[in-house]
C-alpha cells in the first residue's frame, strides 16, 4: 500500500496576521508557520493504514517556498517515509495551478491512495484535493472522517450536515480527511532525529495561471457590547433585540 499525502505550510491559527503592503498577501514576519492541521489528520490516517497493513510507504508532498521543507520534516518526524518538495516562488497561488503541479508530480508515481486535508486553514478553499483527483482521473471523496480498505476498495465515512454518509470507491482514489477517527500523534523526539536521515527530494516547479488575489482584508472589528438595562425590566427589550436585530431567536 503506497500512500501519498499532500500537505501545506500555513500560519498558526493563533498567529496574529498582518497584511503586507500590497494587501494581496500576509506579512510573514514574526508569524509562526505550522503543518496545516487538517493535513495532520491525513498523515495520521496514512500512518494508521500503513501500520495496520504492516507494509507499504507514506510519501508526503508539499508545494511551496523553501521553508516548506521544515513542514515536510515535521511530517517525516511523525513517521512518513519520504518527502517531496515542489518548490515555487509564487505567493499564495490559487487552487487550480497548485492542483496541476501536484497532479503532474503524482501522475508519475505509483500510488494506491492519495490523501489531503479537508482544507488549508489559511485560504479555506477546499479546492486542491478534488481537483487533483479530477486531473488524475481517479475517484475521490471529501470530508472523510474514517475509512477502511478491503479487497481493492475503500469504504469511507463522510461528514454531511447533521450526520454521516458512507461511500465506496475503488483504488486508486483520493480522499480529503477531516476531524474524526484520526487524532494526530505527536512527532516523537526520536522521530525528529530520524527525520533528518529520511529522503527529502526538492524540485523546482513553475505554476500556470490561476485566480489573482485582488485584495485581502482583515475581519471587521467586533463592535462593543451593549447593555440594554438591568434586572427583569430589561428582559423584554433584550428579547426584542435578539429577535429583530441579532435574529437568533
Amino acid at each position: 500500500m503506497n500512500i501519498i499525502v499532500c500537505v501545506k505550510r500555513v500560519p498558526d491559527s493563533e498567529a496574529r496576521i498582518q497584511l503586507s503592503d500590497g494587501k494581496t498577501s500576509i506579512d510573514p514576519t514574526g508569524v509562526k508557520f505550522v503543518l496545516n492541521p487538517y493535513d495532520e489528520f491525513a498523515i495520521e490516517a496514512a500512518l494508521k493504514q500503513k501500520e495496520a497493513a504492516g507494509e507499504g510507504s507514506v510519501t508526503v508532498v508539499s508545494l511551496g517556498g523553501p521553508q516548506s521543507a521544515e513542514t515536510l520534516r515535521t511530517a517525516l518526524a511523525m513517521g512518513a517515509d519520504s518527502a517531496v518538495l515542489l518548490k515555487t516562488s509564487a505567493e499564495n497561488p490559487s487552487g487550480l495551478p497548485v492542483a496541476r503541479a501536484l497532479a503532474g508530480e503524482l501522475g508519475g508515481r505509483e500510488y494506491d491512495l492519495i490523501l489531503f486535508g479537508l482544507k488549508a486553514i489559511d485560504d479555506d478553499q477546499h479546492a486542491v484535493g478534488g481537483m487533483v483527483a479530477e486531473l488524475l482521473d481517479i475517484p475521490s471523496a471529501s470530508a472523510v472522517t474514517e475509512f477502511a480498505i478491503e479487497d481493492g476498495s475503500v469504504r469511507a465515512d463522510r461528514e454531511v450536515e447533521g450526520g454521516s454518509e458512507v461511500v465506496e470507491l475503488s483504488l486508486p482514489c483520493a480522499l480529503s480527511i477531516t476531524k474524526g477517527a484520526y487524532e494526530p500523534r505527536y512527532p516523537s523526539l526520536k522521530g525528529i532525529m530520524a527525520a533528518k536521515r529520511k529522503p527529502l527530494e526538492e524540485k523546482e516547479v513553475s505554476l500556470g495561471e490561476g485566480n489573482e488575489t485582488v485584495r485581502l482584508a482583515p475581519p471587521q472589528e467586533r463592535a462593543a457590547g451593549r447593555i440594554v438595562g438591568e434586572g427583569p425590566d430589561a428582559v423584554p427589550e433584550l428579547i426584542r433585540l435578539l429577535r429583530e436585530e441579532a435574529k437568533v431567536l
Binding site: 523526539l189 525528529i192 532525529m193
Partner: protein, 394 residues
C-alpha cells in the same frame, strides 16, 4: 486551553536549529494538551500524575540526550534543555520526575554502568517501564553528602546495604533506586560507590514524606535499608568517590537551569494576560498602570537574561567545554529568578493569585523546593566563591 506562544523578547528562537525548535514545540504542545488539563487537580490531591508516564516515554523524554543505541532520542543538550523548560512550564514536579529518571538514574547507569547494566536498564527506562529514584541525601547529610553514613559491605559475592536516605524524589514510585553508599570507612569519601537496588528487595522500605507544602505533584520519600542484599552485578563498576554522584547532579542541575526558565515564562505569560483583562479604577486595565508595567518589565528582563544564560550553557555542554561551576551559576541565577518572577506574578494577580486555577502560586511554592534541592542557592554561591577566590568556604 489556549496554546502557549512562548516568551522570546530577544528572538532567541533564531539561535535554535530547526530540530531544536521542533523538539521544543512538540513538548510544548504536549504540555498544553495533556499536562495542563490535569495538573491543578493532581496538585491539590498531592499526587504525581502517574498516568502521564507512558506518554512522556512515547514522546522520548526520558534520557533524551543519551544515545539512540540504548533506545534514547540522542538529542543534543540544548534540545534536552528545551524539553526541561517546557515540562517545568507545566509543573516543577513533572520536570523533577523527568530529571530524576534521565539525569540522575539513566545517566549514572550510562556513565558508570557495565554493558549488561546499560542493556538491561536503559531501553526499559527510556520506555518508562522501569522507573528510577536517586538516593544521595540522608537525614543528617544534605548539603554535605560526603558525610553519608549509609554503608555497603561485601559479603561473598553480595553486598549488604544498611542506612537511610531522605527527600528522595520518585522514592515510592520507583522500581529501582540508585543508592550511594560508602564501601569503606565512614571517613573515606573515596569509598562512595553507586548501586542499582531493586525497590522490591528484602529490607528495602520507602515511605512518603508527609506534610509537604511544595512540589505537591511529585513523590518524595524516605528510604530505609535494613540488610538489603544485592548481587555484585548491582554495583556500578565505574563509580568511585563523591565525584560520581556529583557528576549526576551536574547533569540534573543543567536541566534545572532550563526548567526554571519555563516556570518563569508560564508565570510571566499569566501575569501579562491577567493584567490586560483585570479592570480597576476608571475602567482601565491594571496593565495600564505604571506599577504593573515596571513589574512586568522586570520579569521579562530577568527571563530574557536567564534564557540567554541557559542557551549558552547548553552550547558549551554540546561543545564539551562546560564546567560544573558554570552550571552552578546558571542553576543559582535561574531558579532564584524564577522564584522571584513567580512571586511577583502571584502578587499581580491579587486574590486570584492564591488560587490553584492560576499557575503562579503553584510555581512559587514549587520553586522553593527547586531552590533547595540539587545544591541549595547558598551552596552554589559557595562553589562559585571557591572558584573565584581559590578558598573553599564550606
Amino acid at each position: 486551553m489556549a496554546k502557549f506562544q512562548g516568551v522570546d523578547y530577544f528572538d532567541t528562537d533564531s539561535l535554535l536549529s530547526e530540530e531544536e525548535r521542533m523538539v521544543r514545540d512538540t513538548v510544548r504542545e504536549w504540555v498544553d494538551d495533556r499536562l495542563l488539563p490535569v495538573i491543578q487537580e493532581a496538585y491539590i490531591e498531592r499526587r504525581f500524575p502517574r498516568e502521564l508516564i507512558p506518554e512522556m516515554a512515547e514522546l522520548g523524554v526520558y534520557g533524551a540526550n543519551l544515545p539512540e543505541e540504548y533506545g534514547c532520542a540522542g538529542l543534543n543538550n540544548v534540545a534536552y534543555g528545551l524539553i526541561m523548560q517546557e515540562l517545568e512550564r507545566g509543573d516543577s514536579g513533572i520536570r523533577s520526575f523527568a530529571s530524576v529518571q534521565g539525569a540522575l538514574c539513566m545517566y549514572p547507569i550510562f556513565a558508570f554502568g557495565s554493558d549488561e547494566q546499560k542493556k538491561e536498564y536503559l531501553p526499559a527506562m527510556a520506555r518508562g517501564e522501569v522507573i528510577g529514584c536517586f538516593g544521595l541525601t540522608e537525614p543528617d547529610f544534605g548539603s554535605n553528602p560526603g558525610g553519608m553514613i549509609t554503608r555497603a559491605v561485601k559479603d561473598g559475592d553480595e553486598w549488604v546495604i544498611n542506612g537511610a536516605k531522605m527527600w528522595i524524589t520518585n522514592g515510592s514510585t520507583a522500581d529501582i533506586a540508585i543508592v550511594w553508599a560508602k564501601t569503606g570507612e565512614l571517613d573515606d569519601i573515596s569509598s562512595i560507590r553507586g548501586f542499582v537496588v531493586p525497590t522490591d528487595s528484602e529490607g528495602f522500605t520507602a515511605r512518603d514524606q508527609k506534610g509537604k507544602l511544595s512540589l505537591l505533584a511529585s513523590d518524595t520519600s524516605e528510604l530505609a535499608f535494613h540488610d538489603v542484599r544485592v548481587p555484585d552485578s548491582a554495583l556500578l563498576p565505574e563509580s568511585g568517590g563523591l565525584k560520581s554522584p556529583l557528576k549526576c547532579l551536574t547533569q540534573a542541575r543543567f536541566g534545572i537551569a532550563w526548567g526554571a526558565v519555563g516556570a518563569a515564562m508560564a508565570c510571566f505569560d499569566e501575569a501579562r494576560s491577567y493584567a490586560g483583562e483585570r479592570v480597576q479604577f476608571d475602567g482601565k486595565p491594571i496593565a495600564a498602570t505604571q506599577i504593573q508595567q515596571t513589574r512586568l518589565a522586570e520579569m521579562l528582563t530577568e527571563i530574557t537574561k536567564a534564557q540567554l544564560l541557559a542557551l549558552q550553557l547548553g552550547r558549551l555542554k554540546d561543545r564539551g567545554s562546560m564546567r560544573p561551576q558554570q552550571v552552578s551559576l546558571a542553576k543559582r541565577n535561574n531558579v532564584d529568578m524564577a522564584a522571584e518572577v513567580a512571586r511577583e506574578a502571584r502578587r499581580l494577580l491579587g486574590g486570584n493569585g492564591i488560587l490553584v486555577e492560576y499557575a503562579a502560586m503553584r510555581h512559587m511554592a514549587n520553586l522553593e523546593s527547586v531552590y533547595t534541592y540539587e545544591g541549595t542557592h547558598d551552596i552554589h554561591g559557595l562553589i562559585l566563591g571557591q572558584d573565584i577566590t581559590g578558598h573553599a568556604a564550606y
